[in-house]
């Protein structure tokens, strides 16, 4: 048997599925329904029987390819039939009845061991689920969600973030430039600048979204990924506020108490800059990297017209993919963007 024949049978099956579904949907009387049932699902001459026979004669590998869809169509048509039976009953017409009443007169006991008829249920993407959870938690701490464009100008992606022209981070080889002056944002910190330009202090926002870097793609790197970035600016914000907020965040996210530790680091737009680790057992417990953070650099404040002598603030950034991977035991970042339903349905 060749592939053409199998493909043709699959195509014919789709035609049957469509015609039968339409016929059951259009049936307006019990008679119509019954006629359609005999025509499509009848045991002797129903059109589904032709496919049944075809399926039985298939070799093993063909059975696998064809069988799955065949069974789906068969199940779907049986459901369509059942629904039309219910729909054309006189008492169903006005819609005042529930299907419970329709079956209550049955003489035999309902078999509760039968599997339920499940309505289709989708899922949010695991990255969305993680992002929403983070936004929700930070929302409880007073951080409002802010957004900004993914294609940015150099001012928002670099200059205002204290990344001068000579800085290696601006090298075209390390960014996706769209033209001389605009590029795909390499971090969500751009939104910090936009928010501060928009309003005087105090500011307490989180930004979330896609960012782009030309990293070689492997199990832990993608040229596109998601970040969440937080910013809190007011008159008396200190590094202790940052540590506290991140501890409360981590404890809320994990559901139990944790401790936070800062390791000195370097980012152009914060000073001091720190890498943030968390641990739930201070006695010899492992420290797990959470993200980067720091106190907003005075040059950033100057770039947006805030007086760094009056205001201070902190900023932090966390990688959504990394948090999601660790939370759900995902070990390859590429799975997020393949959208295999067998992956998506697990979250």
């Amino acid at each position: 048997m060749d592939a053409n024949e199998l493909n043709k049978a699959l195509a014919d099956l789709e035609v049957l599925a469509r015609e039968a579904t339409e016929a059951f949907a259009a049936a307006s009387s019990a008679d119509d329904v019954e006629k359609s049932r005999i025509r499509f699902l009848g045991q002797k001459h129903g059109r589904i029987e032709e496919f049944e026979a075809f399926f039985k004669n298939l070799p093993k590998e063909g059975k696998k390819a064809f069988g799955m869809r065949f069974n789906e169509v068969k199940t779907a048509l049986k459901q369509a039939h059942e629904q039309s039976v219910v729909r054309v009953r006189p008492e169903a017409r006005v819609g005042a009845t529930s299907s419970v009443a329709l079956h209550s007169s049955a003489a035999v006991r309902f078999d509760f061991s039968l599997p339920g008829l499940r309505p289709r249920l989708g899922r949010k993407h695991p990255l969305t689920q993680t992002a929403e959870e983070l936004v929700d938690i930070f929302g409880r701490f007073g951080f409002t969600l802010a957004t900004g464009p993914e294609i940015e100008d150099e001012r928002h992606n670099f200059e205002a973030l204290n990344i001068p022209l000579a800085h290696p981070a601006r090298d075209p080889a390390d960014n996706f430039y769209v033209d001389d002056k605009t590029l795909l944002r390499s971090q969500t910190s751009t939104v910090q600048i936009r928010e501060m330009e928009k309003q005087p202090p105090p500011v307490r926002v989180v930004a979330i979204g896609r960012v782009y870097r030309p990293d070689a793609i492997d199990a832990t790197h993608s040229c596109m990924f998601h970040q969440i970035e937080g910013l809190y600016v007011d008159k008396k914000v200190t590094l202790a506020d940052l540590k506290t907020v991140l501890r409360l965040f981590a404890a809320s996210y994990l559901g139990h108490d944790v401790h936070i530790r800062f390791r000195p680091s370097f980012f152009p737009f914060t000073e001091p800059s720190v890498e943030v680790d968390m641990s739930w057992d201070l006695r010899g417990g492992k420290w797990i990297e959470l993200g980067g953070a720091g106190m907003v650099d005075p040059n950033v404040f100057r770039a947006v017209g805030y007086d760094p002598e009056i205001y201070s603030g902190f900023a932090f950034g966390l990688g959504i993919e990394r948090m999601c991977m660790r939370r759900h035991g995902i070990n390859d970042i590429r799975q997020f963007y393949e959208n295999d339903v067998r992956f998506l349905e697990q979250f």
Partner: protein
């Protein structure tokens, strides 16, 4: 930066364990990556952030260790005998591009004997992962790893006219580097030349012709400073990077050039013999003294949130090599050392004091004031869209913003403008920013088919990127799109439900549109209030073939920004009717081209004031309905707000409806 434990101990007393040291260094800014044993030594890999090039050498790391542990740092003294004729008498240095090379020092060593390095030198390099080449080259690498200053040794006798010219490359010039590969040079690159040709790509790699070989007897030792940006660009353009270029890109200690040059000469004479010529041939701008910085002690508390004793803060700064200029009760003024170019501002000092004092002193349980954090409209709308689609059985997808030209062209309903493209070597194919989400979703559906999931129902909510308005950033819009194996009516129902969920008090008008993306007669534009908000239809054969799908499927894409405007985020109660309604059903036979919308609007306009709603039930074609005609079956709900309607009243409305349909639509009542 890989440092050797034994080597570090030359500069600072380390009577603690390796683990203790790396922990202390990690907690003060040199992040520990890994530790490994190498030939009786321990290699410690530390991550050095780009602001701390001084820690790309052992002395820099030892200095940090000394500060953290409260020990003395011992920097070796450099002394060696010299001989006449002086360096400046036997060679000359000319710099024609001081912008790219502000300082160049050349020393000459005569009578060296090239050979293998002594064990101690070879081992030091091995721990740090550097290969031993010969005694002279090894010394240059040793000093690089000691003090983070790249050096280069030329075979002095191979330099034409025994002199050095630092200049920009000339058009058409090329060099064979020590890796024996040929590089074409560009006029913006800084090169080291002799009287006739290029002998090194400045700061990046030396030339093959003038490298030190077994027969080399006399050396010219280069110690220079190059412009970091120029070095980076040159390295990128040539696809070359080296330990030297890595350090030049991050900046070297200009004030330490002479020490590094002399240190190199001293060690060469120790391991390869020879004598150093008197003095130095140099072109070097004076190193400007560092400007003092004032630290107000109160800033420590203001930024770090903890009290640090002024005396302690001052002590940390002095141990880090800053020199006190002046101090009073509330401030200290200090001058940073030449190797700490990252220290320029008060905030830099706050960080230095904070990290050495230790961030473990910063509490994690202070009181943070509460504040309001309202959820914005876009956030609510996106959340509702996702919930509704998930409940309708759709899986949310996340696909790449990049597409290739074929994908972009496959479904191009929103713009015919030139797509935005990124210019990057890693994206030669998928370099375009998408203008629609549908192609990516069709590709995802195809992938699912190939994995045996034939009925993947997917949606995505993401940005599309349309060309820029004349001035300003590109037009980024939030769209959502669906792909589904369900039929058009089912999919339309999903979209209608979205409007219901958003409480959008608007009607979605779908009008047929013939486009190559859709099968003939099975594509539509969606309008709300006369404005185009989306497209919706069954994929054309062309699309099915392009994506290699098993069968046609239905797709929809809507501009969420437009729908969001119609959403009513806080719905207001309409009084739930307490009087009974009257239901009537009708089957009307109409001509084939008549749309349901025409019947619906005829019914509505003829029904009078009491028609509350009208609901489509069935469409039937076939016997006994004549060809070219079809039967539309629907129900109507009549209700008055203040009384129960009588049969007669409803009959009257119904009669008017039938009459209007007969006249306007050539309808006939199906008995």
């Amino acid at each position: 930066m890989i440092v050797s434990w034994n080597w570090l101990k030359q500069y600072v007393k380390l009577d603690i364990s390796v683990d203790e040291l790396v922990h202390r260094l990690t907690m003060t800014g040199l992040n520990h990556e890994s530790t490994g044993d190498v030939e009786g030594d321990i290699a410690i890999d530390l991550e050095v952030t780009s602001n701390r090039p001084d820690c790309l050498g052992h002395i820099g790391v030892a200095r940090e260790a000394a500060v953290v542990l409260g020990r003395e740092l011992t920097v070796p003294e450099v002394k060696f005998p010299t001989s006449k004729p002086a360096a400046s008498d036997v060679t000359g240095v000319e710099v024609s591009c001081p912008d790219l090379c502000p300082r160049y020092l050349a020393r000459v060593i005569r009578g060296v004997k090239i050979g293998p390095s002594p064990d101690w030198l070879r081992r030091r390099l091995a721990t740090c992962g550097a290969q031993s080449i010969n005694n002279v080259v090894d010394v240059t690498n040793y000093v690089l790893l000691e003090v983070s200053q790249p050096l280069h040794a030329f075979d002095f006798d191979k330099l034409a006219e025994h002199r050095i010219v630092v200049r920009r490359a000339r058009p058409g010039e090329a060099i064979v580097a020590i890796n024996q590969k040929k590089y074409e040079l560009r006029p913006d690159m800084c090169v080291i030349a002799d009287a006739s040709r290029v002998v090194a790509v400045a700061g990046v790699m030396g030339g093959f012709d003038t490298e030190v070989s077994d027969r080399t007897a006399n050396l010219l030792i280069e110690a220079a400073e190059f412009d970091p940006v120029s070095i980076r660009r040159t390295g990128r353009a040539l696809g070359l990077s080296s330990e030297s270029s890595y350090r030049f890109e991050r900046g070297i200690d200009a004030a330490g050039l002479d020490w590094a040059s002399r240190r190199c000469c001293q060690l060469i004479t120790e391991v390869a013999g020879g004598t150093v010529a008197d003095g130095v041939a140099a072109v070097a701008a004076p190193v400007a003294p560092r400007l003092p910085i004032v630290l107000r002690f109160a800033q420590l508390k203001r930024i770090l949130g903890i009290e640090i004793e002024p005396e302690k803060a001052r002590d940390i700064l002095l141990r880090l090599g800053l020199a006190e200029v002046r101090r009073d009760a509330t401030t200290v003024e200090v001058r940073p050392p030449s190797w700490r170019r990252d220290l320029e501002r008060e905030i830099d000092l706050v960080e230095e004091v904070g990290r050495i004092h230790g961030y473990e002193h910063v509490p994690e349980d202070v009181e943070v004031p509460m504040t309001a954090a309202p959820r914005g409209a876009a956030e609510r709308v996106e959340s509702t869209v996702r919930h509704t689609l998930v409940a309708a059985g759709f899986f949310e997808a996340a696909t790449m913003s990049f597409v290739d030209e074929r994908l972009l062209e496959s479904f191009r309903v929103w713009s015919s403008g030139k797509p935005l493209a990124v210019d990057h070597s890693t994206r030669r194919q998928e370099n375009l920013l998408r203008q629609s989400l549908v192609p990516s979703l069709l590709a995802a559906r195809r992938l699912n088919e190939s994995h045996g999931t034939l009925d993947s129902e997917l949606f995505e909510l993401a940005r599309v990127y349309l060309p820029a308005a004349p001035a300003g950033l590109p037009n980024e819009r939030t769209h959502f799109a669906l792909v589904s194996g369900r039929d058009l009516r089912e999919l339309k129902g999903v979209i209608e439900n979205l409007l219901v969920a958003l409480h959008a008090g608007v009607t979605l008008e779908a009008t047929n549109v013939e486009r190559p993306e859709f099968a003939p007669g099975r594509g539509a534009e969606l309008h709300v209030g006369g404005e185009l908000v989306g497209y919706f239809g069954q994929t054309s054969d062309r699309l099915v073939a392009q994506f290699d799908l098993r069968t046609a499927c239905c797709v929809a894409e809507l501009n969420l920004d437009r729908l969001a405007g119609a959403a009513q985020l806080i719905p207001q109660l309409r009084t739930v009717p307490h009087l009974p309604a009257s239901q009537r059903e009708l089957s009307l036979i109409v001509d084939e081209p008549a749309h349901w919308s025409a019947v619906e609007s005829a019914v509505r306009s003829a029904a009078g004031p009491h028609l509350e709603s009208i609901q489509f039930l069935d469409l039937y074609r076939g016997k006994p309905i004549p060809a070219g005609r079809k039967s539309l079956h629907f129900s109507m709900t009549f209700r008055a707000p203040d009384r129960t309607l009588t049969h007669a009243e409803v009959d009257q409305s119904q009669a008017a409806i039938i009459d209007a349909c007969k006249r306007g639509l050539n309808a006939e009542l199906r008995e």
